[in-house]
Structures are given as C-alpha cells and as structure tokens.
Amino acid sequence: MITVEDLCKSYGETAVLRDVVLSLPRGGLTGIIGPNGAGKSTLLSIIGRMMKADSGRVLLEGLDLARAHGAEVARRLAVLRQDNHLAARLTVRDLVAFGRYPHSRGRPTEADATHTARAIAYLGLEPFADRFLDELSGGQRQRAFIAMVLCQDTDYILLDEPLNNLDIRHAVGIMTLIGKAARELGKTVVVVLHDINMASACCDRIVAMKDGRILRHGPPETVMQADFLEEVYETPIEVHRLSGRLVAVY
C-alpha cells in the first residue's frame, strides 16, 4: 500500500501539488489522469524519489521513502520516467539487466540472468535482445524499458506516460501487457495516462487530478462521468457506454 500524506510542492511561486492525500491499496492497475500541469508527473516523481517534496511524506507499506535506504526501496518500488534518452549505446539485454542492480549490486548471479531472460521473453523482445536501443522503433524501445522495470522484480511499479508517442497498436499492446503484469504477477502498478478512454478500459482504479489536487479516486465508473470530466478538462465531454465500457467523447 502506498500512502501519500499532505504532499506539497511548488516551483517558485507556482504550487504544483497542494496537500495531496492519497492511499493506493495493494494490487491492481491504477491510472492517474488530468489536464497538463495537474501535477501528475510531479506526484509520480516524488513517490519515485526523483524529486523532494516541500512538505508531507510518502509511505510504502509504512516505510518513509524519503528517509529509507535507496537500495532497499529499489527492491520494492520500480519507476519508469517519461523521457528515457540514453547517451549510452546499450543492447536491450544490457538495459534489462540493469533492472537487477538493486539485487545484485553489479555482481550478477545465475538467478539474475534468469530474471533478465524472463523479463525479455515476457515482453516479446527475444528477437531484439542483442540489438542496440537506437536501432529499435519507439514501441520496441518502450517495451525494453518496461522489461527493465519488470526485471527489477518489485511489488510496486510506477510508470509515467508509458504510451507517449506510440501509435494505437503499440499503445494497446503495452497497456495490455501492463494490465497482464498487474494481474498475473500480482504487482501494484500506477500509471500516468493522457488518454482517459484507455484509463477507463484498462485500469482498476482511476485518480483524477487538477491544479495540484486530487479531485476523485475510485473505480472507472466514479470518475467517468460527463459533468465531472467537463469540470476537470474544461471541455464539453459526453460519456457513453459502448460494448460494456465507459467511453468519453469530446
């Protein structure tokens, strides 16, 4: 369980997070949605320890993330940020193997190699395993990064807009994979999404944010309501039920 307590963060005069309180139970796939500048990525960055909060704290099963030992946290929580530009020329296998670092501390064992191979297979990356990252398409590269995060073998996974710049086929593919990982492997996955229909279709819970606050948190039905979404996005939105799913039309 991830507990966020009274988190505040501002850049200069601009408050990005205002007293955010959130508790995410174990298991399942949670989507964070909201307009640009709502504070979604900032929230994820603070939970992922890439940024420090001005006040408040984040607990992972009672462990204060800001004070805990980095390696200890990295064995329980994996984070994938939005922009993964790598200067280093790495093969897919090298990249995925980095996920074992919190466990192996740079001295990989047989078990680490098995984990790496399994993560590569899970994302269907075997044909590209020995290719360099800059020789892959955007979708393949994104899958490689997700494989690295899975390879870290943590109970909790945070993903910041993993569908950015992907076409429909790859976006659906990756979202399905993430959902599968959450259900099959029993992980708790939190993912920032721009596409509310994707969130509605794939997530078990949705957190809706705006102006640094959490407006609503619950199963898709509680968030996918026309008047509420209009308030969040300040755009006329209709919500329809199509083949069993709630779909927003805008």
């Binding site: 992922g48 320890r49 890439m50 940024m51 420090k52 030992h69 980095g70 390696a71 200890e72 946290v73 990295a74 064995r75 994996a78 984070v79 994938l80 940020r81 993964n84 530009h85 790598l86 200067a87 280093a88 020329r89 790495l90 090298d94 980095f98 996920g99 670092y101 919190p102 501390r105 740079g106 001295r107 870290q152």
Partner: protein, 314 residues
C-alpha cells in the same frame, strides 16, 4: 571482440613503453634506464590520470564533448600559479618544496570543486547543466584574472611563469613522482570499487535513483576523485586541454560497450599509447623538433571539431 581489442591495446602500450626505454640509447644502461624510467613513469601517470578523469566526468555529465577543462579546472590552475608568482615572485617559489606547492594546489582545486558543487546542488536538484554553465563562466573569470596579473608582473617573471604553464612532456616534474603515484593508486582503487555504480550513473539521474543509487552523493564522490586526478596531471606537466577528449572518444569508438570495467582501462591504455608513443617518435625520430603538447592539441582540436560537426554531443 572486446577482449581481443583490449589485449591489442595492452600490447601497443607495452611496445610503446619498451621502445621509449630502449630506442636510440647510447652509453651506459645504468644511467639510461633509471633516467628514462622516471620520465616514462611520469608520462604514464599523466596519461592514466587524464584518461580516467575525462571518462568519469563524461559519464557523470552524460556528455561526450565536455571535459574537466570546461569546468574551469585548468584555468584555476593557471590562476593559482599566476597568483603565486604575482604575490611571492618566482625566485621565492622555486625555493619551495614542490610537494608542498602540489598539496596546496590540489587542495585549492578540490576546495573549488567542492564549494561550487555544494553551492549549486544545494540550490537546485537538476544542477549539472547549471554547474557546467557556471563552470564555463568561472573558467573565463579565472582566465581573465590570470591574464590581468600576467600583464602586471615583470616580463622576466612572466617568462618563468609561461614556462610553468605550458604543458611540457619533456620536463615532467620529477620530485612529485612518488607522491603522485600513491595518489593515483588510491583513486584507481576507489574507482575500481565503483565500476558497476558508474555503469548505473551513465543511465542518468532518474534511472539511477530508480535503481536505488544515492545519485547526488555518488556524483559528488566521482567529481571529487576527478578533481584529484586533474590535479595530479596538471601538477606533473601542466594543463593539457584536448588530450582527454581524444582518448575518451577513441575508447568509445574502439570499444562499443558502456561497461566502465572496459572503458576506463581502455581509455587509459589509449592514453598511454598516444603519450608514450608520441613522445618516443618526437624524441627519437624528430629529435625534439616539435613539442608533443602542440601536436596533441592540434589533433585533439581537429577531433573536437569533428565531434561537434558530426553531432555526437550526446
């Protein structure tokens, strides 16, 4: 492939060293070997120090065309030297124990890096680019202040100073050899223990934190080690601008890997081949007609332009 190339580099370095020791030797071996040996040791230490410093600096900054020189390190060295001559005069300085002045210079360099680093990282979490920018500004400031003092001092003093400031591989500072060797050994051991950590740092700040590395602290340690390495090489031969850039990038080119367990020794070996081999050729083939520093700066400069033009800045 990597193993084969490493062996080849090792053999090339060994060959360069053997040629340096034996080629064109006349007279008493009892004199030639210790005499050349000291010089060889000095060159080797400079080569290794510059190579290691550049590679770890580029890893931490995730950039392949910036070198420690851009942080204003060589300029600070110039400023310290100029300031000492300006304040005390060259005669009194020559009387000083070189180990003492080396220790003072190293401390000044480390202090400067530490201050700059703490100040900037305290203020900003994404400090590295700001740090580099400030480094460039400080570099210019140091260079200009040194330039001002150089214009004010006695022309004779200026000549002495110029002699100290130009990189010279012929006149490796002999008194500092043992001292530098110890420091270099200590830094190398520290780096060797950090090898996997350096690999993770190369992935960038976010990924490193995600993998449980205390990024800011580790970067501070790496930059500290780099400062000591720069101090060793500048104290031995003076500032050498483009040499590090050249050997680091040759290492990346020859060995397409990101593992520092390969990259660091490879860059060091390339530096050894270039420096010792180059010095051998200049001394024995061209009879000291040109200065190696000039040749290296010329080739390094060309290399730098090539890198910029080919857009390999990342």
């Amino acid at each position: 492939m990597i193993a084969r190339r490493m062996v080849a580099l090792g053999l090339a370095a060994l060959l360069a060293a053997v040629l340096f020791m034996t080629l064109g030797a006349r007279g008493n071996w009892d004199f030639v070997l210790p005499f050349r040996g000291r010089k060889l040791a000095g060159l080797a230490m400079v080569a290794v120090a510059i190579a290691l410093a550049t590679v770890i600096f580029q890893t931490v900054t995730r950039n392949r065309i910036l070198t420690p020189a851009i942080m204003g390190f060589d300029s600070l060295f110039v400023l310290v030297q100029t300031g000492l001559v300006f304040l005390f005069g060259s005669a009194r300085l020559s009387a000083l124990d070189p180990r003492l002045s080396f220790a003072v210079e190293t401390l000044l360099l480390c202090g400067f890096a530490g201050l700059l680093y703490r100040w900037l990282f305290g203020a900003s979490q994404r400090g590295l680019h700001l740090l580099l920018l400030v480094g460039i500004v400080f570099g210019t400031l140091f260079r200009s202040s040194a330039g001002l003092m150089q214009r004010l001092i006695d022309p004779d003093e200026f000549l002495v100073l110029q002699d100290r400031l130009f990189a010279s591989f012929n006149a490796v500072d002999q008194d500092l050899l043992g001292f530098s060797a110890l420091i270099l050994l200590a830094v190398s051991i520290a780096l060797w223990r950090m090898l996997p950590l350096l690999d993770v740092l190369a992935l960038g700040r976010d990924a490193a934190i995600g993998l449980g590395v205390d990024h800011d602290r580790t970067v501070a340690i790496v930059l500290g080690l780099m400062t000591v390495l720069v101090a060793v090489s500048t104290a031995l031969v003076g500032p050498v601008g483009f040499f590090g850039l050249m050997v680091a990038n040759l290492a990346y080119l020859l060995l397409p890997t990101t593992r520092h367990a390969v990259l660091l020794p490879a860059a060091a070996l390339i530096a050894l081949v270039a420096l010792i081999g180059g010095q051998t050729i200049l001394e024995r083939v061209f009879d000291y007609d040109t200065a190696l520093a000039v040749v290296i700066e010329f080739l390094g400069g060309l290399f730098f332009i090539l890198l910029v033009v080919r857009g390999k800045s990342r």
